[in-house]
Symmetry: C2
Subunit: 201 residues, 2 copies
């Protein structure tokens, strides 16, 4: 807003809300007004939830996940298969895989990918701890669920080298046609991979 | 999420974020994760701004606007023309008019429209205070910037009746073609009104 139409506290609230992904300047104003109107039903409880989360959130020292406990909910869940670790670049990938609900394994969050051009080397990622988890034993499979990008694949190769000689199988996600995907929108690499890995019908 | 993948504080944060307009369940997860990652740059400052706003926000006892001071920023702005009051249904309309920046007047927020079917009568709206402001004198024009709906127009008529006999001119927004609007998308009522109120070129 060019001129101030509300006190500095509300202006600042709108400015900060505009930086939340999914909201922009216009949505931020609408969101602020909605929060103000629903003060007791939403604004106050959300503020309290944020204050609690911002205070308690931490990075899991075992797997790199974010949670309000360390070790995190997933690392301490006794129903999970600790012999399999799914390695992801980012917590958002972990959440996406959990929503898919395909595996009941443990995770390891790298916090990015190797990228020499950006000055990101092995020590900038959560790799040493991963190798340590494998070396401690009890892990029979590492599923490298990194992105199918150059950086993701470089990182996958690096990790594979680091655990070479340890008693662990290293696998990666299958390439193929996305469920519901249309063939003529897919790139040639994906189509070739899907053909090569074809399964019997 | 079907199963819990994070501590209850984060699950609750996501649930409440999903109720913010502009965010949905999926965006709420993305927003929560972004906040957690940008803990010092965004999450903590936003939480602090919300805590301050939720604590300080109040309804202006003069005009019905929401702000962190009472009377509000607009009611106390000495550069505004106090002889004109723009009457709006909602604070969001006030904000929209301020963004348009067309008038430097004062406002009055009704908090809704008369709607007998929904059981909303004059006492449920901020009308008595408006009539009081006019009765106190010094107001030469009331611009009824209510929506062009049946309820909006009913409310406009009611207010006009209430200030009848007082020395105040009551006006309303012009009907017409929206700037940038295409004629063949407009309803007949708007087109008729735009023709009737045509101006010389
Ligand atoms: Zn963990
Ligand atoms: Zn006010």
């Amino acid at each position: 807003m060019s001129k101030s139409i509300a006190g500095p506290e509300i202006e600042r609230l709108i400015q900060l809300l505009a930086r939340v992904p999914g909201l922009g300047p216009r949505s931020a104003r609408r969101a602020a007004l909605h929060l103000i109107k629903k003060k007791d039903q939403l604004f106050a409880p959300l503020t309290a939830a944020m204050a609690e989360a911002v205070d308690k959130v931490r990075v899991c020292s075992t797997c790199g996940n974010v949670d309000t406990s360390d070790p995190c909910t997933l690392c301490t869940d006794p129903r999970r298969d600790g012999t399999t670790i799914i390695v992801v670049e980012d917590v958002s990938d972990l959440w996406a895989l959990e929503r898919a609900g395909a595996m009941n394994a443990r995770y390891h969050v790298l916090g990015g990918t190797l990228s020499p051009l950006d000055g990101i080397g092995p020590d900038d990622l959560n790799i040493k701890r991963l190798v340590g988890r494998v070396a401690e034993g009890g892990v029979s499979e590492l599923i490298l669920a990194v992105n199918a990008t150059v950086e993701g694949q470089t990182t996958a190769h690096y990790i594979t080298d680091q655990v070479a000689g340890m008693e662990v199988k290293v696998t990666r996600l299958a390439h193929g046609v996305p469920v519901g995907g249309e063939l003529d929108y897919l790139d040639e690499g994906t189509l070739s991979a899907a053909l090569k890995s074809r399964t019997s019908f």
